[in-house]
Amino acid sequence: MSIDTTSGPLPGRSSPESPVSRDERLQTTGFLVRLMRRPELGAIGGLIIVGIFFLFTANSAMFTLNGGLTIMNPSAQLGIMAVAVSLLMIGGEFDLSIGSMVAFAGLVFGIFLLEWHFPLIIAVAATLVVAALVGAINGAVVQATRLPSFIVTLAFFFILRGLSLVGLKIVTGGTTQLRGFTEATADSVFTPLFSGFAFSGLFRRLADLGLIELLPDGTPAAPGIPIAVVWFVFFTALATWCLLKTKVGNWIFASGGDARAARNSGVPVDRVKMGLFILTACSAAFVGILTVMDAGSTDAMRGLQKEFQAVIAAVIGGCLLTGGYGSALGAFFGSIIFGIVSIGLSYTTFDSDWFQVFLGVMLLIAVIFNNHLRRKVTGER
């Protein structure tokens, strides 16, 4: 835990004889104020409300371990993107191309794996490199033209979807589906990283202890934690740590809060934003790979509307559309709310198509709430 000399030590802290001086008014910042300042407060509130709603309306099967994991899988597939999107939005930019990127990455991954017969891990890496390139193009166009990223990435929303359709037809000779991933990856040692369940041994043992129900054939009702969920939790933790504890995190907040002020204070704003575009594109490609491995096939219509859902999850999680404020943890909860509503309705007597109505209402409430919260936090009049 040595102090990095390039950034300079903090004087007045290193020596033990200088006591930590604290304003007596400091302590009066109560728990409630601190809580109110957390951007993810709204998402946690929303989660509780949604939870209570389904507690009263849904079949009790939803609240079993298996039901919970069924909700978490789609939450995770959306959430991996939503966490990256929350960082990008805090950095003051948008990416509407990520839904199309899911399909495009599926195509690219398919070509590497099935056409060129790359080993799995190389195919994954190469797909992420291609995605990073697309993200970099997004970022470069935004920075070179100074156009809003909203419009630039909207162009790539169409471009990537079109390329996925055309590309798949060329590769498959006419259809827009590509199959054979399960067979091609069956004997790779890396397959468990991208498909199936984690901690299945643990779940087996819990079942033996009678803590998890058994299916009639003797296997546990919940075979393990879907691998996407593990990645989702990992990425959320990493992003949260980055935002709150690192230099880059501060640069992201600053770049989104006021790019010019940040630049004048020595923040490499362009590099930060470029990095965020690349990260977002890679997160979408990663989700593309996970869904392809999950389904064993890719489809040109994968990831439809995911860009909007990811933005909504990030906004429910406390991100401001104007940038400079938000939380990765909030996007995590936002995505779970999403999963609960989309899956949960099938446990109720309601028509599942209420989902979209629910979504719109949630978004509206979140935006109004966040706007109010921001005024409170910043004393904006």
Binding site: D4, T29, T246, N250, D258, R263, N264, G266, G379
Partner: protein
């Protein structure tokens, strides 16, 4: 230099390595800056010396901010020589200027309203601990530094985690000044730092400027207040419509002459008479 710093209770991020008093740190000759058709600086020359306060004076739109933004790496000069420590300098951005030891309080302060005081204070210069890739910022320690530095300037920050947007204009200015003083290793540039400050804070800032000079740093101080300029300045450069009207040592000019020059040589006397001698 060290004992002076300590006796005055100044703590800084870096112990500055400073040249002897009077040595030029920044020298510019015939600097021009054009924004398209607008000529903001039409050939300005000046020298900023270690251990001296250079006051930059002039009317609104004279080009003072443009000049110091060029020195701070925000703008690249259109033409002209720009030397730091006798070597030609080419700043690609404000970060390069910071690395050359130049810290600036911009007129618009360069603060992010949504971010906390501490995060603003250390923005772009976050001290890290630990090893790559696990480098992290100890924000608790940063908050302590911020709180202490703000206390020194005369502002008792209630909570360093509060957003800068909730601060008053003067408090915000104090954060920017405290930040620049804390990080200013060799050159401190202040663009109208006292424009929103109360009496106590203003005299504190003027005292700061004297302290920083005593430590051997070079200071560029922009103000519209002759009294403030004359109180701390060693040399005065007056700008008018993008040109220097001249640079004067303190013993070469008195306050009244300076005032007249600042107004672009216009008849200050008549205006002053009209207002009953209050200007």
């Amino acid at each position: 230099m060290n004992h002076i710093a300590n006796s005055m209770g100044m703590h800084r991020a870096h112990e500055p390595t400073l040249p002897a008093r009077g040595t030029p740190i920044i020298e510019i000759t015939d600097l021009r800056k054009e924004f398209g058709q607008v000529i903001a600086l039409a050939g300005v020359s000046l020298t900023v010396r270690a251990g001296e306060v250079l006051c930059l004076l002039g009317d609104n739109g004279a080009g003072k901010s443009t000049l110091i933004k060029t020195l701070s790496g925000v703008h690249a000069p259109t033409t002209g020589a720009f030397m730091v420590d006798g070597e030609p300098a080419r700043f690609r951005g404000p970060r390069d200027a910071q690395n050359a030891g130049i810290a600036t309080v911009f007129q618009d302060l360069a603060m992010i309203p949504l971010m906390s005081i501490t995060r603003n204070f250390f923005m772009g210069r976050e001290p890290t601990k630990g090893m790559f890739p696990f480098r992290w910022v100890d924000y608790t320690a940063c908050s302590t530094v911020t709180h202490d530095q703000m206390k020194k300037i005369g502002i008792d920050v209630r909570d360093p985690d509060q957003a800068v947007g909730t601060l008053s204009g003067g408090e915000r200015q104090c954060v920017a000044i405290a930040r620049a003083v804390y990080f200013g290793a060799r050159v401190l540039i202040l663009d109208e730092p006292t424009s929103a400050l109360g009496v106590a804070q203003t005299s504190m800032v003027l005292k700061y400027i004297s302290q920083v000079r005593a430590e051997g740093l070079a200071v560029i101080f922009i103000t519209h207040n002759v009294r403030h300029a004359y109180a701390v300045g060693d040399a005065f450069t007056v700008l008018n419509r993008g040109k220097t009207l001249g640079t004067f040592r303190k013993n070469e000019i008195d306050m009244e002459q300076l005032q007249t020059l600042m107004a672009g040589g216009r008849e200050m006397q008549s205006l002053s008479d009209e207002l009953g001698g209050m200007v």
